[in-house]
């Protein structure tokens, strides 16, 4: 059988399952007694094992099988949930991830499982408690592993597992249809696991007058008996409870629990239902989505061209149609943008595990608080934002949060907190990484800056703090495994600006540090202001623009060797875009200043004239020109000319 067609879905689901395992095991560490958590972890591991097995990845199946064994021991109270075991389970997950990544990247590397398996065996043999041994060998029926597993799970959930032996009238005609009536009646009240003989044989009437059905239900065996007896031409019904037969004690317990837990189960089933609803989705190849986006982009370009033609020829009837087209294309744009959006949860959900590992590694007590994980961002941003966030969180854990004793001395709670908060602000998404650690030391940064030859004279405290984003800047004397090589923050900043975003740091010494990342919600189509500088037309994303004012060049003042303007009593630094781009400014003294907000900073961009606002589609400039940092891309305007889009963050 050709399995390659299932490859993509296998990989995707495996990653999902690994993530779920990670989350589950974290949860388990917090509530070691929660059987429901163990069960759900078990289920996921089992799914993964099954998938890997059917894809022929026996290594993965083997390792997940070993994990299942451990989980099974948890479940039967044969093994205690300790940090050691949890760490081992995490190790297994990491190994699985490597293996799956290898498959994904077509690497033929063999991951040696010997070490980890011997570790597992060690734990299994060392810590095996005297288990009560319930639920073993319950089934004398011919059930396979899979069936047994389902039965076990059902029993753990306090469902009844029943076996109904049914005998029809000896002269019954259309026995299959009769059996089918029974089958359907049972299906209505529960879930059928197995029939003896098999369904096919029942359908083909290959049975005498009796057959058996094993099924899971919440009804009592008496109720079930009544239901089956309500069907005509049935000679006799005999119902056995599978768990009861072998272990009365456990079954009695179950029976009591069933009654008590009715409500709990109700709500649980609700949960399951809502869970299913969330997953009603279609998986689409990202490439197709990109293509779709691109086509919509082209459509927008040509719409603007048409609009231009219609207005220059003053064609009223064309104009009306174009308005319709305009509405539809913007709806389409909205839609494709939304389709590409994913909750940032995708990125955030790996951090609890990371912080756990960090706090162990650094021997600090750190709690991670996540908020707003349902904030949605463009798929591309989601894919790219992970690494910078990892850096920031590592920094916070390593440099920010102090060791417990130091914290206690300062009168802070011994447990440090890192907050990861996401929310939407206008057409921007904001991600904050906050810690309540020691904060940035302005003096230290200043002296470091001076040693690097940077003049900090006249810089505000907040400007000085933002120096940490410069290349080669680390105030930490000691380089640790985790952070502090001084390559981190500038990489973070570069990455974020390449996504069209900004990052700022707000910090108070002794109280903590917050990194504020602002990202555009979407990358491909933006509203832009078209400006003229030195005879060229440029586009500036409206997302950055606060306002536009017109000034006369003689209003430009100088302070500290920099040009500024004074607007409503505020001193705003000025950037002459023409000079910055090596263009010749025109002689006109009446100019415009586009006031932009880049993160916490406000800067004025001096331009010659304005053309107005337009929707533009950002096209990448290709590999050869990608080193031009001043531009985020290019776009095609209504008149068919290509215009560059200025990267405001890089200009100021």
């Amino acid at each position: 059988m050709d399995m390659s067609q299932y490859f993509d879905i296998f990989l995707e689901e495996s990653h999902e399952n690994l993530q779920n395992l990670n989350e589950g095991i974290l949860l388990l560490e917090k509530n070691p007694q929660d059987k429901e958590t163990i069960n759900s972890i078990f289920r996921v591991a089992h799914t993964l094992k099954g998938m890997a097995g059917s894809m022929g990845f026996s290594d993965i199946a083997e390792l997940t099988h070993r994990m299942e064994n451990i989980l099974d021991k948890f479940r039967n109270d044969e093994l205690e949930v300790t940090t050691d075991v949890i760490t081992l389970l995490f190790k297994c997950l990491d190994t699985l991830e490597i293996m799956i990544d290898n498959i994904q990247n077509d690497k033929n590397e063999h991951v040696d499982l010997q070490e980890i398996i011997s570790l597992i065996e060690c734990i299994e043999s060392e810590k095996t408690k005297e288990g009560p041994g319930i639920k073993k060998d319950i089934f004398e029926l011919e059930l396979n592993e899979y069936d047994k597993n389902i039965i076990k799970q059902a029993q753990d959930k306090n469902y009844n597992v029943l076996k109904a032996d049914i005998t029809l009238y000896s002269d019954c005609i259309l026995k299959s249809a009769r059996a089918f009536l029974v089958y359907k009646a049972l299906e209505d009240i529960g879930e059928i696991i197995k029939t003896i003989p098999t369904i096919e044989e029942l359908e083909q009437e290959k049975f005498n007058n009796s057959f058996s059905i094993i099924f899971i239900t919440q009804k009592s065996s008496d109720d079930v008996k009544k239901i089956i007896e309500g069907i005509s031409e049935i000679e006799s019904v005999n119902i056995q409870e599978i768990s009861k037969r072998k272990n009365d004690e456990a079954a009695a317990e179950v029976a009591v629990a069933v009654r008590e837990n009715d409500k709990v189960q109700e709500s649980r089933r609700e949960e399951e239902k809502s869970f299913k609803k969330v997953h009603q989705s279609v998986r689409v190849d990202l490439e197709r989505l990109d293509k779709f986006m691109n086509l919509v982009g082209e459509l927008v370009i040509h719409r603007t061209r048409l609009e231009q033609i219609s207005s220059s020829h003053k064609l009223v009837d064309l104009h009306e149609t174009l308005e319709q087209v305009g509405r539809i294309t913007s709806d389409l744009q909205d839609l494709v943008m939304k389709i590409r959006m994913l909750p940032i949860e995708r990125v955030f959900n790996r951090f609890p595990r990371m912080v756990r590992d960090l706090s162990q590694e650094l021997n600090k007590d750190i709690e991670l608080v996540i908020k707003g994980e349902d904030t949605e961002l463009d798929r591309t941003v989601i894919d790219e934002i992970g690494e910078p966030l990892v850096h920031l969180i590592r920094n916070s854990a390593d440099h920010g949060i102090e060791p417990s004793d130091e914290r206690l001395k300062k009168g802070k709670p011994s447990k440090g907190t890192i907050r990861l908060i996401a929310y939407q602000e206008g057409n921007k998404a904001v991600i904050r990484v906050e810690d309540d650690g020691r904060g940035l030391d302005v003096e230290k940064i200043k002296s470091k800056a001076q040693s690097l030859g940077i003049d900090t004279e006249g810089m505000s405290d907040s400007d000085i703090k933002n120096l940490i984003f410069m290349n080669g800047f680390s105030t930490r004397d000691k380089v640790t495994d985790i952070s502090g090589r001084g390559v981190g923050m500038d990489v973070v900043k570069t990455k974020i600006s390449s996504l069209g975003g900004t990052i700022d740091v707000i910090s108070e010494i002794g109280k903590g540090t917050s990194f504020v990342i602002r990202l555009p919600l979407t990358l491909s189509i933006i509203q832009a202001l078209l400006v003229k500088v030195g005879g060229e037309t440029f586009a500036i994303s409206l997302g950055f623009i606060d306002r536009v004012i017109n000034i006369n060049t003689n209003e430009i003042k100088k302070t500290n060797n920099r040009e500024v303007i004074i607007y409503r009593g505020n001193v705003i630094p000025l950037v002459r875009v023409a000079r910055r781009l090596n263009l010749v400014e025109d002689d006109n003294d009446e100019k415009f200043v586009v006031i932009v907000n880049v993160g916490e900073r406000t800067v004025g961009l001096l331009v010659d004239s304005l053309f107005g606002q337009q929707e533009v589609v950002i096209k990448s400039m290709g590999k050869i020109l990608q080193n031009l940092k001043e531009y985020v891309g290019a776009t095609i305007l209504g008149d068919g000319f290509v215009t560059l889009i200025l990267d405001v963050a890089a200009l100021v």
């Binding site: 005609i173 259309l174 299959s176 249809a177 089918f180 009536l181 359907k184 009437e205 309500g230 069907i231 005509s232 031409e233």
Partner: protein, 119 residues
């Protein structure tokens, strides 16, 4: 006493069923020779039980079951089948028929089925 609607294209079959049922004290509230008529009478008479033949002109029994179930999800319908119509009986059960009786009718089986379906 329960009201019953008999649906069968053969008047002979309807008569036979009617005899069996009335002798056992059931009231026949209507007879239909095809599915369309059956749905019509079902709407006006609201019978407690319908006996439904499978092969009929105009609208067959399975279609009629689906229609009636759509109007009244709680409708109680018993299929009347000949031997060898297993697949169609199953189809009818899937569509919501509660039971089936097999021709040639045995009175005790018919009555058993009706009583059980009435509950």
């Amino acid at each position: 006493m329960a009201k019953i609607l008999i649906v069968d294209d053969a008047a002979f079959m309807r008569m036979m069923l009617k005899d069996i049922l009335t002798k056992n004290g059931f009231e026949i509230c209507g007879e239909a020779p095809n599915g369309i008529k059956a749905v019509e009478i079902y709407k006006s008479e609201k019978p407690d039980i319908v006996t439904m033949d499978i092969t009929m002109p105009e609208m067959d029994g399975i279609q009629a079951v689906k229609e009636i179930k759509r109007i009244d999800p709680n409708a109680k319908i018993i299929m009347c089948s000949a031997m060898g119509q297993q697949a169609m009986v199953m189809e009818a059960i899937k569509s919501g028929a509660r039971d089936f009786i097999v021709k040639p009718f045995q009175p005790d089986r018919v009555i058993e089925s009706i009583k059980k379906v009435l509950g």
